[in-house]
Every structure is written in structure tokens, then in C-alpha cells.
Symmetry: C2
Subunit: 287 residues, 2 copies
């Protein structure tokens, strides 16, 4: 298929590369210049990239970036034609997704929200899970592209439900990791060997992919970014914004947001979100 | 072996029954009368139960109950002889565990803290995991009893380290479940089908034994107790008490404590801790 891929960040670049590898005709664009993908054409603007595309795939940093790529100066909107599909693998506001989809559909194109889970590792291996919202037949048309970049598509419902499920999932991930970080800090202060504590986690019902993946890095206090803290922080704000709009009280993730705020203040924005442990340990005086 | 088993609650009764089944000579005692275990002798007091025992095994509700069983009127202390072992599978304060062990050792007996994970189901099936603190050779002597009641013994370090690791583990479980409950509430309010959200959890790195076990009940809002909320609430207090003694700041579990407090106030103390969801849904106006 002819695909415009917009956004060549930590996730987007390997995703676009996997589309090229699968034989698709890919034009790429990135906000800052100089990022390219071998075998893909580089375009100067989103509108240029989208000009001859059947599908426009976005993977940018936040809601404002999606809005700008779609509807800003030289945005995708100028190149939209009936029958085109816009797919968004950024993690953004579910409410804004509904607005963006409406404006895209006004041009006769269709819209699918398809945020991903699997982090950098999953993007590189073509093993992402897509959490999709939109019409069944549109999602079916995108199947060759999903297959090139991921291992599974979970259809969560109509437009916006992909983003809704994604922010709920990231809420859960942030809470699992915060529990691990607080439990590890407490146990260490009480004199428990951290490797034995991880052994207990892995032998019990506490075990999850989150801790399986993070623990070896955490035990070395290696916070190299797989999923940068600033992005998890952004997703927590998406959760809290949605909760406020809906009048929900979510005390756990509300408290965890403060840990992220303090982590950003302490200079960990570009580290992995695992670095929230560094702040909890600083408070504990164990760093 | 000759074992005195003290505390025939939701966990203790099936544990004692599994000791009898494995051929051990068991005398049992429970604070409230009328609870018995087939094939075991019922004793009128902890001291009576312990009189001819090689091992005294406790599984009672909290720190005060352990203190009372050991050192109260007609307590175990009166029957302690050199070479005996006291094992505690209650979940109690690590700091108090150190005091209790010291008083037990003053009589020439030894002490092992051995709280468990696996809930009621694991106790009935003889599939508990023991999280043990104490001397290696004492733990080895207890192996026939551990094998009768559980599938694994994780030795976390010396006295108190079993309790320390256990309260850290329960902190993690409470945070995993709170994340699930808040994420589910948010996603449902945003229109996502709850079964599809659970499908996403199970397909992704969020999956854990905690949610695997709870989800089928939660989807039916069946809060029959497997691990009663009041006990998880007690364990969260053990965490916060230890954190305060150590000068730790644990914001996640601190916020979650308020959800448990409100859940108790709303009448869910004897329901499963999964019923914290009912309070989050009440706040959300979705019950």
C-alpha cells in the first residue's frame, strides 16, 4: 500500500522501517529534519507526504502535535481525498480524537485510532499490540499494515475507544510500577535483599510483564529510556484530564502523578519511567 | 511431627487440615470455640495445644493476636521448651516479629516468620508460597510441614525478613488491583466494553495473577471474600506504620489506604478487597 508515515520518534521510526521491509511504498515526515528511513521517501511537510497516500499513519508526541500534523499549516487535511484512511498510533486525548475523526470524515476519508503497547522493543521487533477504535471494515483494510508492524490488533469499539482503552492501560502500568518501586524501597529499608524480593514477585501472583521487563534494569539502577518518563507523565495527564471531564475520582493515579512531577523536576524526564524509583529512594534517603 | 496449630480462620483451618492429611499429629486451638479440624485434637488454650508439640504454628489475624497467643494468659510461652520451633504464618509487624522472636529464643526455642501468599484457594489446595525469615537449619527442620501446606518456601533472610517481604508484596498487590479498578472505571465511563478491556490486559504486559484471578469475579461484581478487604486494609496499615518508623514517603499506597478506609465505612470490610471497585464506581456514579 501507499503509506505516509508521520513522526519518526522512538516508536515511529522502527514502525515505518517495518512497513518498508514488508514492501509498502512509504513516504515519511518528521517535525525536526534529518531523520530518515532507508527505502522511504522523505517529504517536507505532512501535506506532501500524504499527497499520493492511501493511508496516513501518525505516531507523534501528543494531542497538540496530532492536531498540528492534521490541520496545521501544510497539514494532512489539504491532501485528504475520499477513501483515504488516517490512522493514529500516538497516545492522545479520547475526546480530541472524536473531533479529529469528525473533521477527517468531512473530507470523505476515514479515521482509526490505533495506539500501541509494546514500547521501543516491540516496535523494533514488529511485535506491537494495536489497541484500535473505529469501523470494522476500515480496520480490516489496514490489516496488511498492522501485520507489518505488530502481532495483534485488539478492536476496542468505535472511534476513540482505542485511545480510551490505551490511557486506561497506561494508568494500570503506572500503578503496577509504582507499587513495585514503593514495595522495593520499603523492603530494602527493612533489610530484604532486592534480588530475593524480585524472586518473590516472580514466583507469585504479582508477576507481570511490566516487572519482568523492568526488574533487571532496576536492580542495576539503569534508567536508559525504553518508555521515556515524560511520555508516561503525559499519559497520566490524559487520564486525569479525562477523569476530570467525567467527574471521576481516581486517588491512586492522582497520587502517582505527583511522583512523576517530582521526577521531572529532578531531571528524569528523558529517562525511562522506571526512574520514578530514584525519587522514591531519594525521599527514603537510600539513593 | 507433633504440631500445635493456632488459629482456624479462612487460611488456618485448611492449613491445619493439610497437616493432618500428611500424617502429622496435630492439636488445634482457635480463639472462638466450635471450630475444629477432623483428625486433630482440640485444645482449650494455646498453652494446652503447645504442651507436647515440637512445632507451634500460628495463623491469626494481627500483631496483637500473635502477642496474645504467645504471651497472654495461657499463652504458648508457658509450654516452650528448648528445641521447639514457633512458626508464624500470620501477616504482622516486622518490628514486633523481632521482639516476639527474642522472647521465644529466651526460652531456648527458635522462631520463624513464615507468612504466606496464595489466599484461601492456595491454602485449601496445599499450594501456598511461604515467605520465610529465620535460620536456615530451622527452616530446613520445618520442611515436612511446609511441604504439607504449600508448594514453595522462599527464604528471604533472617528473622523478620519474611514479614518485611510479605508486607511489600501486599503493597504491590493492592497497587495492581487499585490500578485495575481505576482503569476499568475510567474505560467504562469512556464507553469501552469491560470484557474487551480485560482482553487487552490479558494480551499485554499488564497481565498478572492478581487480575487473572479477580477479573471473572469483578466482571460479575461478585465480591465474595477470598482475601477479605479488612485484612488487606490491616496489611496496608502495617506498610504505612513501617514506612513511618523508617521515615519513608510512599504516596501511592498512602492514597490507596483512603480507598480502603472508605470501603470499610461503606460496609465492605468482610467482602473481598476487590470491593474497593464498588467505592470507586460509587464516586464515579456508575454503580
Amino acid at each position: 500500500m501507499k503509506v505516509a508515515f508521520l513522526g519518526l520518534g522512538i516508536m515511529g521510526r522502527p514502525m515505518a522501517a517495518n512497513l518498508v521491509k514488508a514492501g509498502h511504498e512509504v513516504s515519511v515526515w518528521n517535525r525536526t529534519h534529518g531523520k530518515t528511513v532507508e527505502g522511504a521517501t522523505s517529504a517536507a511537510t505532512p501535506a506532501h507526504a500524504a499527497r499520493n497516500a492511501e493511508v496516513v499513519w501518525m505516531c507523534v508526541s501528543d494531542t497538540a502535535a496530532v492536531e498540528n500534523v492534521l490541520f496545521g499549516e501544510s497539514g494532512v487535511e489539504q491532501s485528504l481525498r475520499p477513501g483515504m484512511i488516517v490512522a493514529d498510533s500516538s497516545t492522545i486525548s479520547p475526546a480530541s480524537t472524536l473531533e479529529f475523526a469528525k473533521r477527517v470524515r468531512a473530507k470523505g476519508a476515514d479515521y482509526v485510532d490505533s495506539p500501541v503497547t509494546g514500547s521501543k522493543i516491540g516496535a523494533e521487533a514488529g511485535q506491537l499490540i494495536f489497541i484500535a477504535g473505529g469501523a470494522e471494515d476500515t480496520i480490516t483494510r489496514l490489516q496488511p499494515l498492522f501485520s507489518a508492524m505488530g502481532k495483534q490488533v485488539l478492536h476496542m469499539g468505535d472511534t476513540g475507544k482505542g485511545q480510551s482503552a490505551k490511557i486506561a492501560a497506561n494508568l494500570m502500568i503506572a500503578m503496577i510500577y509504582e507499587g513495585f518501586a514503593e514495595g522495593l524501597t520499603l523492603a530494602q529499608k527493612l533489610g530484604v535483599d532486592p534480588e530475593r524480593l524480585v524472586g518473590l514477585v516472580q514466583a507469585s501472583m504479582i508477576r507481570s510483564g511490566v516487572v519482568d521487563y523492568k526488574a533487571p534494569f532496576v536492580l542495576k539502577r539503569d534508567y536508559s529510556p525504553n518508555f521515556p518518563l515524560r511520555l508516561m507523565h503525559k499519559d497520566i495527564h490524559l487520564v486525569l484530564d479525562a477523569a476530570q471531564q467525567l467527574g471521576l475520582k481516581l486517588p491512586g493515579i492522582g497520587a502517582v502523578e505527583h511522583v512523576y512531577e517530582e521526577s521531572v523536576r529532578a531531571g528524569h524526564a528523558d529517562d525511562d519511567y522506571a526512574a520514578t524509583l530514584a525519587v522514591i529512594e531519594k525521599w527514603a534517603g537510600t539513593e
